[in-house]
């Protein structure tokens, strides 16, 4: 029919591998599960690349790339019109996401062969990785918003399982719990958003919802709640769902803790794929946002902008290298959200949309590279903390070079890919709102600074006391590093504006030197300061930190958001709601029920004396009663 039927295999292969490995993995040698998983993911990767090539370069009509639905089956009929379907939707962004997910996932599968070697639960790890890949692929291929929600939840649970992979470690358990509950809270918003949206439109299907000429919003205008239109409510709530997964402020708190998971997991889930699901969601619903709820889009822009600044500031003060990267991820996700928020629809107007997707793509490559590099470092020195590292460039040349490439990319140094995508975002922000643009300029500088702070601390400076001499990682780990480094370098040259655009029609972009040159300069300034402060061991950073005092402390403690989270969950929910509820139930409601029983018992105790056991008392009562009855009947009748 459409020639794309095979795409259904892309998610199904990981699912099959999950089931097989999950059920039988314990009985095999660990390596078997690893190789099976990797082979399966490799197949999916190849299929995705083939799909992308034939989709993007198979030509397109006047109207741009049209969506293709090779498969769609009804999964559940809710009402006459609301059907939940399971299917595959191919359009520019889903095809792009296919490539991103399978590439990073494949690399992580290979990398983990080395990184996780000898770990207990190796098979379990690969099973979960496959489960995650399946869910994530299902999410991006969703043909309707409910299918997306279904896979959204599955992605959340695979993330829960993988963060808590070292389940004997209490901190990992707590982190996985936190991640799940925070995102679950956001998902509630998503769910209510879907409910409102489906109530208004009577459909879940994207091809009806995201069609700019859609007629399904007919009744929307008249509905509202608290002075805000129903569509704005719906889209803000859906965005909350996206913000939860993409860890936007103030739902970001789970992401840094999620670094308790194994590093390849952080690379795959918490850097490259799952956390961009929120961005993807907004992108997928973009026409609805743009045409029906522009106010909600403004919210998206500001939340994104604020998160990018907020996270960048925190990243400067962290010492755990994975946490620095986590906050950097937050910051970059903020960029993508912001780009979507400032975008218009169609052609040049849709620059922000294109830029966001472009950045999503490049970010996936270089951030996965950074995480895998960090994993390689952690593998070598057995610590997550910068102050346990130093001078590693001598011992780990491949890691060093690839890490440097990634740092330069994220700092936006041309001609690496980060430069191109970030530049487009800045242009889009500039066209929309100057304050947001200013924030992003600042963030660009901060990004370069904290990345190179990390880089210099780890690879330069003097050697620490290592348990054993750090060594370069095995080939299984360095090949993915090199592959991703190459991708990071060259991804910028992909003609994104001709492939992935808001209305699926290609347009031309040009270099805006007025914006690009200062942004590069700001990046370089950031790098320069980092070089100044961290190239050699010095007291200056500590002195600066001391100078800022409380501010530094607040930043170091991530502005106490974790404490607020703990306060809300432990104190409010646990102590102030749940405990009184439990007490109320036991003592008031149950007390009432028991009280009924007690009253009965007490009454019976009071009147049981009448059963004296004296036969003649009974006889007397009987006769007296009979007489009384007879007399009263005689009297009254």
């Amino acid at each position: 029919m459409t020639g794309f039927e095979y795409t259904i295999l892309i998610p199904l292969i990981p699912l099959a591998i999950f089931l097989i490995t999950g059920l039988l993995g314990m009985k095999w040698k660990p390596a078997v599960s690893g190789i099976l998983g990797t082979a399966g993911m490799g197949t999916s990767f190849l299929l995705s690349v083939i799909t992308a090539i034939s989709y993007f370069f198979g030509g397109h009509g006047e109207a741009g790339f049209s969506p293709i639905i090779p498969a769609n089956i009804t999964w559940l009929k809710l009402t006459e019109t609301l059907h939940i379907k399971m299917g595959v939707l191919l359009d520019p962004i889903s095809v792009m996401m296919l490539v991103v997910i399978t590439t990073v996932s494949f690399m992580v599968h290979i990398y983990s062969l080395g990184y996780m070697k000898g770990e207990k639960g190796f098979a379990r790890f690969y099973a979960f990785l496959s489960l995650f890949s399946f869910s994530m692929l299902g999410l991006v291929l969703a043909t309707n918003i409910f299918q997306m929600y279904i896979f959204w939840e599955l992605v959340g649970v695979s993330s829960f399982l993988l963060i808590g992979f070292y389940y004997e470690k209490p901190s990992a358990v707590a982190a996985s719990k936190k991640a799940f509950i925070v995102t679950r809270f956001a998902d509630l918003g998503f769910l209510i958003g879907i409910l409102i949206l489906s109530f208004i439109t009577g459909t879940f299907d994207f091809d009806q919802l995201t069609n700019p000429q859609a007629s399904v919003f007919g009744g929307a205008a008249s509905l509202g709640f608290m002075g805000i239109s129903a569509m704005t409510w719906a889209m803000v709530l859906i965005f909350i769902g996206g913000a939860g997964k993409s860890a936007m402020f103030p739902l970001h708190i789970w992401l840094p803790d999620a670094m308790e998971g194994p590093t390849p997991v952080s690379a795959l889930i918490h850097a490259a794929t799952m956390v961009v699901a929120g961005v993807f969601l907004v992108a997928r619903m973009f026409p609805v946002f743009h045409f029906q709820a522009p106010d909600a889009l403004e919210v998206v822009a500001w939340v994104g902008g604020f998160t990018s600044l907020f996270a960048a500031v925190i990243a400067i003060t962290q010492f755990d290298i994975k946490r620095v990267l986590a906050f950097s991820t937050l910051s970059q996700l903020g960029y993508m959200m912001l780009a979507l928020g400032v975008s218009g629809y169609g052609g040049e107007e849709g620059l922000g949309y294109m830029a966001s997707m472009f950045h999503l793509f490049t970010h996936a490559m270089f951030k996965a590279l950074l995480f895998l590099g960090a994993g390689s470092i952690i593998h070598a020195v057995h610590s997550n903390y910068m102050y346990d590292m130093g001078g590693l460039r001598k011992y780990m040349p491949i890691t060093h070079i690839t890490f440097l490439i990634a740092c330069l990319t994220i700092a936006g140094v041309p001609p690496l890919s980060g430069f191109f995508s970030k530049d487009e975002i800045l242009v889009a922000a500039f066209n929309h709102n100057k304050i947001l643009f200013g924030i992003e300029y600042l963030v660009a500088g901060l990004t370069a600074f904290y990345m190179f702070r990390l880089y210099f601390n780890v690879f330069w400076g003097k050697d620490r006391h290592y348990h054993h001499t750090p060594h370069e990682s095995p080939l299984t780990m360095s090949i993915p590093l090199m592959f991703l480094a190459v991708a990071s370098v060259f991804a910028g040259f992909l003609p994104f504006s001709e492939l992935v655009t808001s209305d699926a029609k290609p347009f031309e972009t040009e270099m805006h030197l007025m914006i690009a040159v200062p942004s590069v300069l700001i990046g370089l300034v950031g790098i320069f300061f980092a070089w100044l402060l961290y190239k050699k061991e010095s007291r200056v950073p500590d002195a600066i930190a001391a100078k800022f005092g409380i501010l530094y402390k607040a930043t170091y403690n991530k502005f106490y958001f974790d404490e607020i989270y703990l306060f809300v969950t432990k104190k409010i929910i646990f102590n102030y709601i749940s405990r009184p509820v439990a007490w109320f139930d036991r003592h008031i409601i149950d007390g009432f029920m028991v009280g009924i029983g007690l009253v009965t018992e007490k009454t019976s105790y009071l009147i049981k004396g009448m059963q004296s056991g004296q036969l003649q008392h009974y006889a007397f009562a009987f006769v007296a009663g009979t007489l009384a009855l007879v007399l009263s009947i005689l009297y009254f009748l």
Binding site: L78, P170, I181, L191, L195, D585
Partner: protein, 501 residues
């Protein structure tokens, strides 16, 4: 013989069979055989039902039969099933089957134990196939009363007190129910003619509205007590905590469904005007119980208490959705009954198995069980995920159907309470993950637990049956949902004719 009567006859024959056995080994084998036959019958019934519908049989009830057994009051043994009853029979058969294997090692008075258990099951099966209110009530009582013995004799903890509390509260419900049913009977011929107990015949006439107003609360609350309607739910934590494993399974898994089933099949179906008038009261009560049960569960330390409160929350959602009175929401309610029945039975089975090993149900005394008893721990996690509504497991399908259905209501009040009820999915996640985190993950807390052994074959059989059912509904819900929706049509039609909204 009518296939439906077999569902009562097979358990009775099993009971007779148990009488001839000598020791606990014989008793459990006979019970297992009997209930396996029952399971096969149920599967056959579902297939036959689907086949009949596919062949275009449009009767409201299939395989009807009618024998008078008490002429002067016109009481019949009238049976027949629609898709909903078929689904509930399937649920019961699965849970009873799993329950028998979960109590494989009951040695104390085991013949009596299995007899009571199967007697209870007989009552439940009879209830679901009955079309005659009196016979239905008879089976209902037959299901409730063995519970007293089962908890009082084979239970744990303050078993006598719990058994009495549970039975008395349920009997209180029965008393209300009886008033309601008599009310229906004496109003079943408002224009003269002979009175009837038959549901289908009562459904054809219109009970006078005054009578409905009076008798609806009796009937609804009477069934609602068994369905853990707030504030009449407090028998549930105590009863479940003291009950032996299989009894908890059957009770939470099946008996509580009798309440929900009765609520719509009798109270709402036969008294639609009153149901529409009074729905808002019960909607508020059930909204409270959905959220309240979930919050209540967070604080508990006893695994069974947690599950009992979670049942209050989930069963609250059943009645909540029923009262929304549209096809989707009611479909969700039935799905939720089935889903909750399966997963809560699974939970109680697992809690029993864990308790049998660790001799504690206090979650603060356990930890790291994943390492020592991986099979049970993984299944517990699956049950937990089902409970918090993970897609691919049955809870998700049911909850989403409920929420989408309820939200389709044109009235703002209903949509607002839907959002409140939907917030329970977060709270559920909190208590489920708290339990999972405390008892399964983390380091092993008690060194004695390191020597625990994992599930035996009968425990695996019991839990895997339930897990497979939960997953089957979660992955392919369409056939079940379609079957239920088709059967709901006459009920919804009757309810919406009088719908004032």
């Amino acid at each position: 013989m009518n296939i439906l009567s077999l569902f009562v006859v097979v358990p009775v024959l099993t009971i007779v069979g148990i009488l001839f056995t000598k020791d606990f080994k014989g008793a459990r084998v006979v019970s297992a055989i009997g209930m396996s036959i029952q399971l096969v019958l149920a599967a056959a019934l579902i297939l036959m039902y689907l086949g009949a519908r596919k062949a275009g049989v449009t009767d409201e009830m299939l395989w009807t039969a009618d024998y008078t057994w008490f002429k002067s009051l016109n009481i019949h043994y009238a049976i027949g099933v629609d898709g909903i009853a078929v689904a509930m029979i399937g649920l019961t058969a699965i849970v009873v089957f799993a329950g028998i294997f979960a109590s494989w090692e009951v040695e104390y008075l085991s013949r009596e134990f299995f007899i009571s258990l199967i007697l209870l099951a007989t009552g439940v099966f009879g209830f679901f196939i009955s079309l005659d209110l009196f016979t239905m009530f008879l089976f209902y009582e037959l299901a409730v009363i063995p519970m007293y013995l089962l908890i009082g004799v084979w239970g744990s903890g303050p078993k006598e007190a719990s058994a009495m509390k549970l039975t008395l509260m349920l009997m209180g419900g029965s008393a209300l129910l009886m008033v309601g049913l008599f009310g229906l009977y004496y109003n079943s011929a408002p224009d003269g003619g002979s009175l009837t107990w038959n549901i289908l015949e009562i459904a054809k006439i219109k009970i006078p509205v005054e009578a409905q107003r009076f008798f609806f609360p009796f009937t609804f609350i009477g069934f609602g007590i068994l369905g853990a309607l707030f504030p009449f739910h407090t028998w549930s934590p105590d009863g479940h905590a003291s009950a032996p494993t299989a009894v908890s399974m059957l009770h939470a898994g099946v008996l509580m469904k009798l309440g929900g089933y009765g609520c719509f099949r009798v109270a709402m179906f036969l008294m639609p005007e009153a149901a529409n008038e009074m729905a808002w009261i019960f909607i508020i009560l059930t909204t409270i119980s959905v959220v309240y049960g979930a919050f209540g569960a967070i604080w508990q330390k006893d695994l069974k208490f947690i599950n009992a409160y979670s049942s209050v929350s989930h069963c609250g959602l059943v009645i909540f959705a029923l009262l929304m009175m549209n096809q989707t929401a009611m479909d969700g309610a039935i799905l939720q009954m089935i889903s909750h029945g399966l997963m809560t039975a699974l939970f109680f089975a697992l809690i029993g198995m864990i308790y049998g090993r660790t001799h504690t149900r206090n979650i603060t005394e356990m930890g790291g069980l994943m390492k020592v008893i991986p099979f049970l721990a993984v299944v517990y996690m699956i049950a937990g995920f089902a409970s918090l509504g993970l897609p691919g497991l049955s809870g998700f399908v049911a909850e989403m159907t409920v929420f989408v259905g309820s939200f389709q209501h044109q009235d703002t009040f209903h949509r607002v309470v839907t959002i409140i009820a939907a917030s329970s999915i977060v709270i559920t996640a909190v208590y489920i993950l708290r339990v999972v985190g405390m008892i399964l993950l983390g380091p092993v807390k008690d060194p004695h637990h390191l020597e625990l052994t994992d599930a035996k074959w009968f425990e695996r059989l019991s839990t895997i049956t339930l897990v497979l059912s939960v997953a089957a509904i979660g992955i392919a819900p369409l056939w079940l949902s379609d079957m239920i929706q088709a059967s709901l049509e006459p009920i919804v039609a009757k309810l919406t004719v009088f719908n004032p909204f």
